[in-house]
């Protein structure tokens, strides 16, 4: 039992189950498989972004510029499509991801080469990236009629009964899971966050690892930029404004420690799903959508309090045998 209580992912699954049960009392149709699939699809973009944020937070950094990066990459994708409707969509996605990666690299380079605290860097680039959207678009909107049908249709197209958007997020979960568990870089993320000094002595370049974490979060933000713009069929300066907090919230709820080194892919996904279920349930059970912000605030505070209790160690036992004697 105590082992179960210590497993954050299982605890979170239980919390989501309780949440769903409570909603079912008022509105049974919510847990119909088709509706749950719809909720997952609606949360897909948040899941993809949370994966990138997780890598950054694992290395003891933070990326506040993800939503601005998303908006800028999305705007460029939309403008590209509006100017050259014939351009194949995979190429547009590639451009959005490349731009997102470039923006992530700027964050990473400032953190790596100049040793500027990550929160300051991304606070600065957050406003700069948003401002650049205005300069690029002149404050104008790119509306649905300016986008080609293929551009708008891709995330919605059904593949084996599920939208491409859902498949894409599943693919990203799989890829990031492999990166985290099967590659040296994934191990390095944990090592750098767990103990940066020890990481140096094991031959890991701390700055470079952080740089790659920002590249990953940038690339995923770029991908989400295309997905967001094509899904909602509109691009303007303020899309996804304030969404960076939702992304961090998803990570915190998912048990990813803001002090670095602790967290799993499953946690990030479940944290995002928890927020997604709440967001989709509120209108169903007749609570004003305006309440969503306050609820996610409460959830963040509760989650961080619960996680902090689990993380608090009594002091580490270095020599197990000596302790036993």
């Amino acid at each position: 039992m105590s082992k179960f209580l210590k497993n954050r992912e299982l605890l979170l699954v239980a919390a989501i189950a309780v949440l769903l049960a409570l909603i079912t009392l008022r509105f049974p149709a919510f847990v119909a498989p088709s509706n749950l699939a719809r909720v997952y699809n609606d949360t897909s973009i948040l899941i993809i972004l949370a994966l990138g944020q997780m890598a950054v937070i694992l290395t003891r950094c933070i990326d506040l510029s993800m939503a601005a990066n998303l908006a800028l990459s999305g705007m460029v994708a939309a403008m590209l499509n509006a100017a050259f409707p014939g351009l194949p969509i995979p190429l547009v996605i590639l451009v959005a991801m490349a731009l997102g990666t470039l923006l992530g690299m700027i964050n990473g380079a400032l953190v790596w080469k100049l040793d500027i605290p990550p929160i300051v860097v991304t606070l600065g680039t957050l406003t700069i990236y948003r401002g650049m959207i205005f300069l690029l678009s002149d404050g104008k909107w790119i509306n649905a009629h300016q986008m080609s049908d293929a551009f708008k249709a891709l995330p919605r197209d059904a593949l084996l009964g599920f939208p491409v958007l859902s498949w894409l997020s599943l693919l990203m979960i799989g890829l990031v899971f492999l990166l985290m568990s099967r590659t040296a870089l994934g191990r390095a993320f944990y090592a750098v966050g767990g103990n940066p000094h020890a990481a140096v002595y094991t031959g890991i370049d701390v700055g470079r690892t952080r740089f790659f974490a920002y590249c990953l979060s940038g690339a995923l933000a770029g991908l989400s930029g295309y997905l967001w713009v094509s899904r909602y069929a509109v691009a303007y300066v303020d899309i996804a404004a304030g969404f960076e907090l939702d992304i961090i919230a998803a990570c915190v709820i998912g048990g990813i420690s803001i002090a670095g080194g602790i967290g799993t892919v499953a946690g990030a996904v479940l944290g995002a799903l928890f927020l997604g279920v709440i967001k989709n349930a509120l209108p169903v059970i007749n609570i004003s959508p305006f309440a969503q912000m306050a609820i996610s605030g409460m959830v963040i505070i509760i989650a961080v309090a619960v996680n902090a209790r689990a993380e608090r160690r009594k002091g580490r036992v270095i020599l197990r045998k000596a302790e036993a004697v």
Binding site: A249, A294, I300, A305, A308
Partner: protein, 334 residues
């Protein structure tokens, strides 16, 4: 056998004089920048040097600067408070609600200040009582406090503030000196004295430099931090009174994004984001610089979002430049 080179180390037998240190400080650099911007503005626009225009310009930064003083102390102590803009929104909503119930100006002021204090106390309790990281807690309360105003207001707005209430944001104490500017100057003095001339101020620096050492030297770390979060809450309440009075209405999106501008102001003022160093005169100068830049751009018809690019670049470059400068000097020394 390889020869061993001993590199001589110069240990100065005395530190540089007070004047030399003052001359090389971050604050004097800021002062030069402020003077240059002032000069540039007055050359760029013929309307800039009018006393009433300058007085109007102060409204750009006075409310943010009030919070920045308290935020500077919080950041020097190694913490951060990202919920200040949301406290403004919640305090403003509470005051707007009280107006609908028929309360008058003194009660409104009391409500604004106490909502700020309560929010600050909530932050402080979560951070010092439960030992949670301040950045996550205040991101949470940032959502929570503004979320509460959204629940109360939705897409509506509170208006109809009493006439006497408008004095805080629109009134003048003497000639061109507005109430807000006077308050800004008074608070600058108070915070300067508290930080640089009292035991409490020394404790703030000590905590920021080494929390454990501070604890062992007899400083009540948790209590000092709690007071700091109370102060930011109180200042946010005060700023909320001024801003609400100046705008004459309350929407839940009031002061959106101000937390970033306040942090920028503090960091631009030379406060180390990692804690342990920084001064109030630096923050005052940073407030003046940011206020003059935004006002100057406004006179030149530059849109607000372009100004924000400039602020972002300013934030990154003021931190990057000293680092690059130090590296260049080290390279020259070798």
């Amino acid at each position: 056998m390889a020869e061993i080179h001993l590199t001589p180390r110069h240990i100065p037998d005395r530190l540089e004089g007070r004047g030399a240190r003052l001359l090389k400080s971050w604050e004097s650099l800021l002062l030069v920048v402020a003077c240059l911007i002032f000069l540039g503005n007055s050359l760029a626009s013929p309307y800039f040097l009018d006393p009433w225009n300058l007085s109007d310009a102060t409204f750009n930064f006075t409310e943010k600067a009030m919070i920045a003083f308290a935020m500077a102390l919080v950041i020097i102590a190694g913490e951060i408070d990202l919920s200040v803009a949301s406290i403004i929104a919640l305090a403003s909503t509470a005051m707007g609600y009280a107006v609908q119930l028929g309360f008058d100006t003194p009660a409104l002021v009391a409500i604004g200040l106490s909502v700020g204090l309560i929010c600050g106390a909530i932050n402080g309790l979560l951070i010092t009582g439960l030992g949670l990281p301040s950045i996550v807690v205040t991101i949470g309360t940032m959502s929570l406090f503004r979320g509460l105003s959204f629940i109360i207001l939705g897409d509506q707005a509170f208006t109809g503030y009493p006439d006497s209430f408008s004095w805080f944001g629109q009134g003048y104490v003497w000639w061109v000196f507005s109430f807000e500017f006077t308050l800004f100057v008074a608070l600058a003095v108070v915070y300067g004295v508290v930080l640089h001339r009292t035991n409490f101020g020394r404790a703030v620096y000590a905590i920021g430099n080494n929390q454990t050492a501070a604890l062992f030297s007899g400083i009540r770390v948790a209590r000092v931090k709690f007071v700091l979060f109370l102060l930011t809450g109180l200042m946010a309440g005060l700023a909320s009174i001024c801003l609400t009075s100046r705008l004459g209405s309350t929407r839940p999106s009031i002061a959106l994004g101000w937390e970033l501008e306040v942090v920028t102001m503090v960091v631009l003022g030379g406060v180390n984001i990692l804690g342990g160093s920084g001064t109030i005169p630096g923050v005052v100068l940073a407030a003046l610089i940011m206020g003059m830049v935004t006002f100057g751009f406004g006179l030149l018809n530059v849109p607000g979002i372009v100004m924000s690019i400039f602020i972002g670049l300013l934030l990154i470059s003021v931190i990057a430049l000293p680092i690059l400068w130090r590296r260049a000097r080290q390279r020259l020394a070798h």
